[in-house]
């Protein structure tokens, strides 16, 4: 019996050993991100500031934000973390973000700070007059076209590229390549591997038609309005009227849609500035970037989004101050940021910085930044993920099952209203 008890004791001791915290350093600043694009910047910081090193950990894939929620709720989150813009309302409503202090970053106040940025670039992160996250990225979407395919189809990529959605359908149809009854090359394709991407297009198109997803109070769904139905029809027409895309390829859960453009399986595709670097110079030699398609090019609306840096409110003020120093380091030099991450920076002077001339030409920064300056953030709502999903499902029904746009959106609105009604 004694040996039996001894063994229990031993097991207990072992458990206690395992329990002892692995990391207990106090001066370390922890930072969670969704990608490892900030890796080099962190290394630089750590070289310069050995006393307050930053420990950067990145977590890819969708569950990152879920993890963040769990961690914030249990007060075990990092000192600073990357946040995608549309989650902000959900977090601010729950008071889990510390406001960014412009004065700690060297600005007089928030108004002063706004002047340094592309107009509207900070809007997505402001709640009740306070800034809650600092965006080092302003990313918009533009249209990527395969110039080789254009020339093959007898089109001039510099003149004949589409300006409107109808153009996309019409030109897209010409670019399609068939083998028998099967489409082996699509003229145009929407990326739809997540509901958020769907929403970026739909929210933008509904705005191009002068509509909105929610009413001003944010409590009522307007997606089934006339503008909404027209916006939905844009998608349906490209697939079903013009047959410029193959719904069985373009939709929803396609493995990795961004791969189709460089592989030549699609001739026109909408994606963000970071893709230029991802595709690489070999692909970009025959890919051209043109502005985001519009309903009316005279009244342009484009989608923008950004990953921004937020501060954990549960840390001491002194530590928040230290975190702000890191923030300043990260956003300090937009050129370095761009070189490190290949995402445009929302700095007002970004394009005019010395040394950017080359990038403007070869990497279409002019196009991207122009689209970004017309950009609007996604519908603000603390139920944004449910909105996204409801619209995504509606889109799937319309494109895959040819359901009537109005009917499908009515159902989406019902789902959205139900979600909004919840506290």
């Amino acid at each position: 019996m004694r040996r039996f008890l001894m063994t229990h004791l031993l097991v207990g001791l072992l458990t206690a050993l395992l329990v002892s915290p692995a990391f207990a350093q106090q001066t370390r600043i922890t930072w969670w991100g969704h990608s490892n694009c900030s890796k080099d910047l962190v290394a630089e910081w750590n070289k310069k500031n050995p006393n307050t090193p930053v420990q950067y950990d990145f977590f890819a894939m969708t569950p990152y934000f879920q993890k963040l929620t769990a961690a914030l709720s249990t007060r075990s989150a990092a000192d600073m973390f990357t946040l995608i813009d549309f989650l902000l309302p959900g977090f601010t409503a729950k008071n889990v973000l510390a406001p960014i202090r412009p004065e700690w970053l060297g600005y007089k106040d928030l108004e002063d700070m706004k002047k340094a940025y592309i107009p509207g670039a900070l809007d997505g992160y402001i709640h009740k007059g306070k800034l809650y996250a600092l965006p080092p990225i302003a990313s918009g979407f533009s249209l990527f076209i395969n110039t080789k395919h254009f020339r093959e189809a007898g089109l001039d990529p510099d003149k004949d590229y589409p300006r409107t959605w109808e153009d996309v359908g019409r030109i897209g149809k010409k670019l399609v390549k068939m083998r028998g009854s099967r489409m082996v090359r699509e003229g145009f394709d929407f990326a739809m591997h997540s509901s958020t991407w769907t929403m970026w297009y739909f929210n933008t198109t509904i705005r191009q038609y002068g509509g909105e997803i929610l009413d001003a109070s944010g409590k009522k769904c307007l997606a089934n309005s006339e503008a909404g139905v027209k916006a939905m029809n844009v998608r349906a027409r490209i697939a079903h009227h013009y047959k410029a895309s193959d719904p069985t390829v373009s939709l929803g859960t396609n493995a990795l849609p961004a791969d189709d453009l460089p592989k030549g399986r699609v001739s026109m595709f909408i994606t963000h500035a970071g893709s230029v670097a991802q595709f690489g110079p070999k692909v970009m030699k025959y890919v051209k970037v043109v502005p985001f398609p519009q309903v009316d090019p005279k009244k342009p609306v484009t989608p923008i989004y950004g990953f921004a840096l937020a501060v954990n409110p549960h840390i001491s003020e002194a530590k928040q101050r230290a975190v702000h120093k890191v923030l300043k380091h990260v956003v300090n030099d937009s050129k370095t940021w761009y070189e490190r991450t290949s995402y445009p920076h929302p700095d007002k002077n970004f394009l005019n910085l010395p040394g950017m001339e080359d990038a403007r030409k070869t990497r279409y920064l002019d196009v991207f930044v122009k689209d970004i300056s017309n950009g609007r953030f996604l519908q603000r709502s603390d139920k944004v993920l449910e909105l996204n999903q409801a619209i995504h499902r509606a889109m799937e029904r319309v494109v895959l099952k040819k359901e009537d746009s109005k009917k499908s959106l009515d159902r989406a609105c019902k789902e959205i209203d139900a979600a909004l009604a919840k506290k």
């Binding site: 395992l18 329990v19 993890k67 990092a78």
Partner: protein, 277 residues
Amino acid sequence: MRRKTMLRLGGALITLFALFGVWVMLLPYFWMVSSSIKTGIEVFDLPIKWIPDDIQWVNYPNALAKGAFGVYFYNSFVVAFAVMGGNLVFCTLAGYGLAKFRFPHRELCFRLILSTLMLPLEIVLVPTFLVVRDLGLVNTYGGLIAPLAVDAFGVFLMRQSIRDIPDSLIEAARMDGCSEFGIFWRIILPNCKPALGALALLAFRDNWDQFLWPFIVATTDNLKTFPLGLAQMEGIDSAAYHEIMALAVMGMIPAAFIFLFFQRAFVRGITLTGLKE
């Protein structure tokens, strides 16, 4: 005579069918390995080329360089082995207690333990996370391991297996002067080796594999497990199928290796666990 040829023909057909099935079962593996030695562009090339002209072994080091994979592998090993150890120890102890001792509410205990089979981690993720946090285990190996250290299926497996060991062995040992724990250690353990092997293999596989729980609990890179590393590849370079497949191949090796060596013991272990009653 005709009957015999018919039978032989039938046997041949069944063997052929079995071989066909083998291909179906293994095709994903071939594809995985084949993709891992192609260039990224070749992966979806048609018609499919199983062995590329230019074998890209370089995918392996390249893929490994895209994250701290040495650390992830190490962590996966630590977690898998620790959880396996925990299961072997605690499930076997509990299985022994439930199989060979009479104590009040024993059946209730057993039922309760079995009922946890109906509790997928996803259901109790948050409360479990809260418990782990309150124990101060977030972002520790302890936090990764502790909630997984006992599995009801393991208890069931060991109980069934130990029930088949004759009581008289235990009694003989008791009379021979063995302590109760000594009986467990010297008599029970050596006589349920096959079941222990099966349990170890299943535990290793399941926990080499843990995704959701490490994802929530590990907050720094140095505690991430291999599946997290593999999953984050999509975030780094979403088009690097070839490298993702290279990592997948490497991630499969430990479990496959153990399986190759222990599959016989595994089948035997399951055979001997008293499911036959």
